[in-house]
Subunit: 98 residues, 2 copies
DNA sequence: TAATTTGGTTTATAAAATAAACTAGTTTAC
DNA sequence: GTAAACTAGTTTATTTTATAAACCAAATTA
């Protein structure tokens, strides 16, 4: 069996990290994701929008202690895509003897 | 422990596939890699050069049945990088409960 | 000898990641 | 009360990467 395609939306270090984090916590705000991923705000902002456009995450905006707060959570669609990505990727990680 | 950086040279579907294949067979020619990865010749050629520049693979050129033949094999450096990449990536694939 | 095929490389274009600059408002220090 | 610094982002521009298209050289086939 040949190697499967890797979902390009998930095959990105930052987006994958975000999805991995959200898979664990089910809800996280922008600052948390920024710290955990060591990303810049600009990059994170862009990548979150892409995940949202794909309906892999939901983004809610509110205010907390007078400051704007952006909260993200993974959708069922996102979880499915993440799980499928992981399964496909595993094929790449364990070399096949031929 | 925060998520580790993923070696950008390996975090590419095609280059990762090539490395994965080479880790299994230790030597493979251009056509084999092209078929197994479903890549175009142009893309494969470019990515092999990048892996070579990083000393992750060696490229030998010869002739077989009158046709040019390009044979690739992974270096020790390449294998180390591949193994490290795999270890780092695993952190992304299993969500952490927090 | 004129296509067609093998086995690629090089160059050009499209897409993606990243960084820099900007927006909007808040808090702190004078 | 106002200037400086900070929070929490977004937008735009630049760089990098991936991909596709075009090309090359030789071999084979018709």
């Amino acid at each position: 069996m040949a190697l499967k395609e890797l979902n390009p939306l998930l095959h990105s270090q930052l987006r994958l990290a975000v999805m991995s984090l959200l898979a664990g916590v089910k809800e996280a705000d922008f600052s948390f994701l920024k710290e955990e991923t060591n990303s810049t705000a600009g990059n994170l902002s862009v990548q979150l929008q892409k995940l949202k456009e794909a309906d892999y995450i939901e983004i809610e905006k509110s205010f907390k202690n007078n400051y704007p707060q952006t909260t993200c959570k993974m959708t069922n669609k996102g979880l499915s895509a993440f799980n499928e990505y992981v399964e496909n990727l595993k094929e790449y990680l364990v070399p096949k003897k031929t």
